[in-house]
Amino acid sequence: MIAIWYAIVSFMLIAYVILDGRNFGAGMLHCFVARTPEERRQVIAAMGPLWSWHEVWLVGFGGALVAVFPRLMASAFSGYYLALILILWCLILRGFSIEVGGHINDRLWQGFWDFVFVFSNCLLAILFGAAAGNVARGAPLDAEGNFSMPFFTDFGVHGYVGLLDWYTVSVAVFAVALLAAHGATYLALKTEGPVHDRSARYAKYLWVAVVPLFALISVESFFVRSDVPGRAVHNPVCWIGLLVTLISAAMLISGFSTRREMRAFLASNFLIVGLLATGGAAIFPVMLHSTLAPENSLSAYAIAANHTALVVASIWWPIAFALAIAYFIFISRRYVGKVSVKRDTQGFY
């Protein structure tokens, strides 16, 4: 039961990363792939009215965490307080720049909001990347399961660590490259005209850049969490995740070389799913590793809510999930196809 709930919670976070990750990527590339004001609105129209729906997965992830792993929520939300507030502010600014930017047809107004849009998306990719690095590396949990940490200490990965150290920073750089590549792949699928051509070109460069960065953080991860690989090789989910990643990489290459954008985009999604699933399964059952003493780590089995809560959650989750999937199918059919420069096909964005 607890392993299943760990998988469900991870699944919701992964769904958020692939869905909103493409918006982060598209947002970061916004100023590179789109040169004219019309093209910039085109990029935003490609993200369309879907971005707020993508954030639902993040909220759902948080809700599931409260219901099933309340102690992790209590510990992590206090410990990562400032980082999470920063993420929240960036999400607010990102949403606001999308909503407000198109309201006044003025170069200064739109230029300002485009800047806020790109800035907040870059920061979000960096912050989520650093957050992923933090979860993998662990936090300085004390015996009560609490921790607090500054933004950085001595940039080392053991003992009293900060949010940023050489490991989390390199994961953040990797996340920026990965999400930018993902976003470029999405824009290549979703747009036409000059934006499409530029996005397709950027996507190739960025995916090439992702490979050495991935190799780098893989090697780093072995040093940072030398306890994990020994357990991970016995976990079949890790091998499946790795297999998905490799097949997706092959599909991605074939998608780009044959110009099948849908294939490339799906491969890009599954590649991220594979990577995150491998990572999530590798650290199971420890949800938050303690950098001070391994016995302080928060294990999924120790911190799960009581049995009634798990049963209640298991009844409600499929209902909510079915609704979310039904909406996903509806909205995907509604906004299918490419977005052109001239005619804004996606409402008032």
Binding site: V100, H103, I104
Partner: protein
């Protein structure tokens, strides 16, 4: 958190869910939800009415302005009545039954008694434990809390001072401001609807001015109502179970929370200014041409569901 039910206390002292149906059908939650939603409807109808009054006073968009005024005053009157009765009334009875200390503090009632009155005016004096300069409506509180004029209402003196809400003055004034504004809403909307029914609303200049300028009042009423709920719950985080002073995070410093509080204040201020600017701009632009050619009869059939302008 106001009236926790359906829980059980685990071996390690943490709370777990015990009965989902009790948790979801918490009567307090249902009544508070109804109170909230009807207050939201009041807010919306005041804004719609204010826009209608603005257009009428400027002599613009006659057709839409008449519709806004008619729909706004009708929904506004109904919603203002629902906010007070039954939802507000039931809420007060809930407070009287489950949080008697809160009720006493809301009314500045230091000494308990039968035939308890509601203070129309008065200032709570916590040090001297009395309500200064008060004019009371006798029996009204007993009636509102328990349904009879003779019933007994508890006073703050019956409870230890560490069980009192921390800021009784603020709680008292928040509650009374909410009640006053709520009464004004009912009177204003009833009079406006009456004039509308007589066909004189659009020619009564002063009433249009009042309707136009009163759109911020529901926002204030909502805020002080919220303050009443949260201040009244003190000193508990989860009422009767968990003290606020035990509930703070031990790993955060004052600096962290002050920093984020200032940040949120600044961010919300900027967003609020932008929101007002953009909404004001949209209102200044007026209804679009498509809306103007819509058949007014069709719109009237939809009264109560006024056409929504997509502002943001």
């Amino acid at each position: 958190m106001q009236h926790p039910i359906g829980y059980r206390i685990e071996a390690d002292g943490s709370l777990g869910i015990d009965s989902l149906s009790a948790y979801l059908l918490n009567p307090w939650a249902l009544i508070q939800f109804a109170h909230n939603q009807s207050a939201a409807l009041v807010t919306g109808s005041f804004v719609v009415t204010a826009v209608g009054a603005l257009y009428t006073l400027r002599g613009l968009h006659r057709t839409q302005a008449a519709l806004y005024l008619r729909a706004g005053t009708l929904v506004g009157l109904l919603a203002s009545l629902i906010v007070a009765f039954p939802s507000g009334d039931q809420q007060a009875k809930m407070v009287a039954r489950h949080q008697p200390i809160t009720l006493a503090a809301m009314e500045g009632k230091f000494v308990g008694g039968t035939n308890a009155g509601v203070a129309a005016i008065g200032q709570p004096n916590v040090t001297a434990r009395r309500l200064d300069n008060s004019i009371e409506v006798p029996g009204a509180l007993s009636f509102l809390a328990n349904g009879t004029f003779q019933s007994y209402v508890h006073g703050l003196d019956e409870y230890p001072a560490d069980a009192w809400p921390d800021n009784i003055e603020l709680l008292y004034y928040s509650f009374h401001l909410m009640i006053t504004l709520g009464s004004i809403f009912i009177l204003l909307m009833a009079y406006a609807k009456f004039q509308d029914w007589r066909g004189r609303l659009q020619s009564t200049g002063w009433l249009l001015w009042v309707l136009m300028l009163s759109f911020p009042l529901p926002y204030i009423a909502n805020t002080v109502g919220w303050m009443t709920a949260e201040l009244g719950r003190q000193p508990w985080l989860a009422y009767g179970l968990f003290r606020t002073r035990d509930g703070y995070s031990k790993v955060l410093s004052n600096g962290d929370t002050i920093f984020t509080l200032i940040g949120f204040t600044g961010l919300y201020f900027v967003l609020g200014v932008l929101f007002l600017y953009l909404v004001g701009r949209q209102i200044g632009r007026g209804p679009s041409e498509d809306a103007a050619v819509l058949d007014i009869e069709k719109e009237q059939a939809l009264i109560g569901v006024p056409r929504q302008e997509h502002f943001v």
